[in-house]
């Protein structure tokens, strides 16, 4: 699904990513840990294609296509979607309008989708204007539910979210990643699993999101490089026991 090879990225005149290699398979959810300032968000921003993140070396391929230099909106059209940590407020643009734009469908059942993330009373509000942390997260999820990307990039889905919101957000992330199986007559759970075609890349500090999504692999970003991949739970335990130093030792 996603293949990143020897990616070097500069922000301003500082090299932030120094040779990142990463492969995420179809239907795989990959977890990214790392201290503040290590380059996690830079990786996500570069994958999405934001200005100010300059690829100086390396390659990003998505579903077999080289998208290293592809404009932002073409990546979105191709199936890359991102949940923003601090999205901007756009005055006069209502959440409901934006959700329709995300789906590129004026007849979308926005009400129905919004109900699932408790945002039906926010649809006529200007996007992100005065939204709380949890409301921003749910609004981002709502937009992604309409956009239906194949690769989901989440930057700390649990930050600034209270416990009650966390359960809802965790559940919706899980659904977006197509990990929510329901016993149903037409298809067995195995068949549903086989039909999954959505991947995820999730940045987390606390690991709370691991209580909601199944993630087989994860790694640590440290000073612009990735350590070896391992089971996310193990990495989390290791970080809480001995800090990020152990990962660095593994790097050197």
């Amino acid at each position: 699904m996603l293949k990143v090879e020897n990616l070097h990225v500069t922000v301003g005149d500082r090299e932030v990513l120094k040779g990142v290699n990463l492969e995420i398979a179809q239907d795989e959810t990959f977890i990214l840990f790392g201290p503040n300032g290590s380059g996690k968000t830079t990786l996500l921003m570069t994958l999405m294609g934001f200005s100010g993140f300059t690829v100086t070396k390396g390659k990003i391929a998505f579903r077999g296509r080289d998208m290293t230099r592809m404009p932002l909106h073409e990546r979105a059209k191709l199936g890359v979607g991102m949940s923003f940590q601090r999205p901007p407020t756009i005055n006069g643009l209502k959440l409901s309008q934006l959700v329709k734009l995300c789906a590129d469908d004026q007849d979308l059942d926005v009400q129905g989708l919004a109900r699932e993330v408790n945002l039906e009373h926010f649809l006529e509000r200007d996007i992100n204007s005065g939204f709380s942390g949890g409301e921003i997260k749910r609004s981002e999820l709502l937009q992604l539910m309409a956009q239906k990307p194949k690769l989901l990039l989440f930057d700390e889905p649990e930050s600034g979210v209270d416990l009650e919101n966390m359960a809802l957000i965790g559940k919706m992330v899980r659904r977006l990643l197509q990990q929510e199986y329901r016993a149903q007559a037409e298809k067995s759970i195995r068949e549903q699993k086989d039909e999954r075609d959505t991947s995820g890349l999730i940045i987390t500090h606390t690991g709370h999101i691991l209580n909601y999504v199944n993630a087989d692999r994860g790694t640590v970003m440290y000073e612009g490089k990735l350590c070896c991949a391992s089971r996310p739970r193990d990495i989390l335990n290791q970080i809480s026991e001995s800090g990020y130093e152990e990962c660095v030792r593994c790097l050197t």
Partner: protein
Amino acid sequence: MSDIMKTNTVDAKSREKISVSDFDFQGAKAEAIQDLTRMDPKDRQQLLMAGVDVNQKERSATYLHMNHSNVHCSSCRPGVEVLDIQQALDTYDHLPEYYWKAVDPEKDEYTRAVAETLHGGYFIRTEKGAKITEPVQSCLFIKGENVGQNVHNIIVVEEDSELNIITGCAVSHDVKAALHLGVSEIYIKKGGKLSFTMVHNWGEEVHVRPRTVGIVEENGVFLNNYILLKPVKSAQLYPSLYLNGTGAVATSNSVIAAPPGSYVNSGSRVVLNAPHTRAEIIARTITTGGTIINPGHLVGNAYPCKGHLECKGLILQDGIIHAIPELEASVAGVELSHEAAVGKVAQEEIEYLMARGLDEDEATSTIVRGFLNVDIMGLPPELKQAIDQTIDEAGEEMF
């Protein structure tokens, strides 16, 4: 002054000087129109784009002034009186309380011209306590070449009554040069409430000089809206609202777009002369090549009072925006604040929408339409719809 010292608007200001005598203020009399639906469809469309519905659907009264004559005046609801100004002057002994009482006829050459030759205008007055929910619509229309139009409007909102007025100004689609001079005197009595929305749909060679003063008494409310999305050669307006009674409230909103060739000097002033008065001035301006000068002035002369001024401008590519926020307080304890910003569409906002699949142009125009939205004006739904449509159509040409 050396060239480097000059500001851009000094040069542009010269465009405000026009010669009244270049225009024809005589002879362009128009026949009365009984049935507005029989107007030329192209003219009707021009009116619609200025918020005027010739079908008079959900309107309580309609007043249409063409060139130098009142051509249509009808009221469909009790509680509100709509007359041609000349008729009102004749009927009510020259309206001694109102006629030239808020605006000084010697203010400038334009007010003098209106004082000398009066072509018409509307007189709208509510009855005490009448709540007129459906808007009164008025239109000042120019059809013909080089027409100079002088109008004088008077609005009286009597005690505890409520009134909505939509006043559209437009030129016929084939008009080139014209000059519109309009004096408006607005009186809101104790507890009265007026929502006054002016939509301008002029032409590329039309000069416009409205002169508006509003006086608001105790607990009166004045909601003033101005919308200009179409080309104009030059427009210069600066309505002044005086809050003279305790608890009076005024809001002045404007949404202005200036395509290349347009010169707009549009602002507003609110003077808070009584305790517990409140005022808000909000201006959203956008240029795609034209010049916009946007002054705003809040004057606090009584305690306690509170006012906020907001001017936000976007320059899409070329053009000039000159925002001039002014706060003036003459007693301790007055609370006045302002917020002004001129810039371009934020890259962060464009990229946010691009990440949702919109290309750069779609993202930009979505943001600009949001910026120009008129939700804050609290307009009746079909007028809002007409204006949204105008924004969409102007948008296709401009951004």
